[in-house]
Symmetry: C2
Subunit: 418 residues, 2 copies
């Protein structure tokens, strides 16, 4: 049996949420704990209530909507994602997973289907980490991987504290930010944010895991000096050491794995003047691979390049690890639930490993988890050009609903045609 | 004949000026048109008056102190430099040339020497260009190379207008910012800001010219994308194109001339986030050579590298010329006046081309000009570590005074022993 979600209703809900914090260019600016975040939360809470869900908000502002199951001994099935966005992001990254989960519940209601396991949908607070670092903060607290005190004390660029902002928008709940039930499994629908599904013209993605991620920050210390009067061989140019390494960060992936990626996204020099040789250059790297050993090897090679460049240029350096996330391999049980849904729905699915971290990373540390990916046109995300066609939104949400049913177990078929 | 300046008095004056705007680490923070600039100007004006000079301030705040000559047909001999500093500069860059000029006048007074040519000393406004661009702004206006309206409208980072700040500190004079007399010649004493004199243990530098300078700004436009989900071959990374070129900016000099230098001092990326591939990367270059053809060739090669990098990385670019200053060759007449002074004083001098621009660049467009360089320990400047020993300050100022006498012509020997 399969159920068929209501694609028009999903589209309507997607458009409603997209109107809250929409930018002039059709993108979304809905940073965590802003007024726009409050507004979309208020709307989502009332939608959950209208869908008959039992709503609770925890100390981190995570919003849960619970639908009972028939078996009192069965663990809860958790489904959801996040409603916050990047400062200039798109309308699909996050909301599609939250409203896909809502649509699952509404479809169960439509057809009066009872599940053996309770079903909970969730909106995780501050997944993006744009305003308050780190990303996936509140699923991390919920999973016991990030201390709540640390999260509360985090400040945005304007110096405002996470805890104060959470209270300001009225979403610091009283429920402890930890699993309130025994969780049997979790599913997250998210846009791919990569080009593979679009490139191969697939309907939907079956996510088998999440890559290992290594973030580092490097600062070279050279000597500030006059650009006109300092002969080339007298220089200790911090930026030149940095550019040597940044070039290698690009080359390292090509010497390792097919899915290895390496990037420098941030750089700054001091004094940053056209006629002064840079005294310091600070830059970041981001290295990822599905295999943790390969990711570690990539970091090793980067550190080797940092040391060589420092020696060559006569500069000193500091290295700081900014993040280390082990890869996640989703258990076969949950991946199979997604694969069966894809097969049952006659979709053209493709297995892939997520290149991005998701709240599913932390859900997976609490219970068996898997993910469904929706097609991202040209793989674009974190930009207003991020796009998933309505048919692709529908296919992914339909896959999510049927995979959830595979896991949650149908106790009462209600009105569904079998 | 030679005259001997008063080294102790010069040292005392240098210390007095250094106390105005001195930083905790012994450097100088005396940006143009700040309160510290006003204070040092007030002090300098009273020192000029005390030295019997006829003081005038022009519309750009340039301060002149005039001492009459004996020959009514003789053009004026101009001697001076600047009192403003970099935000975290040293105490010698600029002031040594202004107070060396003051010491010349005081020494003439000490010995009751009359010169055939009138002697003027000058403090040029905003030589550094740290707060208001461009550098050497007010000698540039005086020489007719920079329109005064453009200079007046320049704003600092806080949006304050040059003209308003000049009025605020009370130094917008009424004298037009243009040569008020016929100028016969000009001399500027400045620290070398390079290592050549120190490295060869010389007493003083005989400057034969100023290198040609080319400044450019390049912006690469790529595509912002997720660092984790975007395969390497899908990327158009603006920063990678930039780092390729920055590495070449370093290598170009080694393929051209002995004195060619190339630097990137400023870079910024957008969005500047650890997990977003840079969409734009903007950076500067600074290329110099004593030979303008070589400097032009260096720019040609840089442009070629920019084009290659853009093609390789699949990004577009904009290039903007930021400054183009032709090299200056000082006329033999003035260089000889300095060389003779060095010989007469039995100093160990060395001829060199200045790698930095100076107010002398613009003075040279009005009249015959030359420069004297003082030793810079380790070639350091634009840093609190900038250092010239008192004996080296004395040697350079003594050279300046005697070179000036060679040019200005002694009409009355006064009390000097010959």
């Amino acid at each position: 049996m399969t159920i068929d979600i209501n694609g028009d209703r999903l589209k309507r809900s997607m458009r409603q949420q997209a109107a809250i914090g929409m930018t002039a260019n059709g993108g979304l600016d809905r940073l965590a704990l802003t007024d726009a975040d409050r507004e979309v939360r208020d709307w989502f809470r009332s939608e959950m209530t209208n869908a008959g869900l039992d709503v609770r908000v925890d100390e981190m502002g995570n919003m849960f909507g619970r639908r009972s199951g028939t078996n009192p001994d069965a663990g809860t099935m958790l489904v959801g994602s996040h409603l916050d966005s990047q400062p200039n992001g798109g309308i699909y990254d996050g909301p599609l997973g939250v409203l896909g989960a809502l649509e699952l519940v509404r479809s169960l209601n439509d057809h009066s289907i009872e599940t053996e396991h309770p079903v909970e949908i969730v909106n995780w607070t501050n997944e993006e980490g744009s305003r308050f670092q780190p990303a996936m903060m509140s699923s991390g607290v919920w999973a016991g991987e990030i201390p709540i005190e640390d999260a509360y004390e985090t400040r945005d660029d304007a110096g405002r504290r996470f805890k104060d902002e959470l209270e300001r928008i009225g979403y610091r709940g009283e429920v402890p930010a930890e699993p309130q039930y025994e969780y049997d499994a979790a599913l997250e629908l998210h846009i791919e944010q990569g080009p593979f599904l679009d490139e191969e013209d697939r309907d939907v993605g079956i996510v088998t895991g999440i890559v290992g991620l290594r973030w580092g920050e490097v600062t070279f210390h050279g000597e500030a000096n006059h650009t006109g009067t300092t002969p080339m061989h007298y220089r200790s140019d911090a930026l030149l050491a940095a550019t040597d390494v940044i070039g290698q960060i690009r080359r390292i992936p090509s010497t390792l794995g097919e899915r290895t990626v390496g990037t420098t996204g941030s750089i700054e020099v001091d004094p940053d003047s056209i006629n002064i040789i840079p005294e310091t250059a600070r830059f970041t790297f981001d290295l990822r691979d599905p295999d943790d050993e390969v990711a570690d090897e990539a970091v090793e090679r980067a550190l080797h390049e940092i040391e060589s460049a420092a020696e060559r240029e006569g500069v000193s350096y500091e290295y700081e690890q900014r993040m280390h996330a082990e890869s996640v391999t989703f258990p076969q049980r949950c991946v199979n639930a997604v694969r069966s849904a894809v097969d049952d729905l006659d979709y053209d699915g493709r297995e892939l490993v997520s290149g991005a971290g998701h709240d599913a990373t932390y859900m997976a540390s609490v219970c068996d988890t898997a993910m469904v990916f929706a097609v991202s046109e040209d793989g674009k995300s974190h930009t207003p050009e991020e796009y998933t066609s309505w048919p692709d939104c529908y296919a992914a949400a339909n896959t999510l609903a049927n995979a959830a049913l595979n896991v949650a177990g149908v106790a009462n078929l209600g009105e569904v045609d079998v």
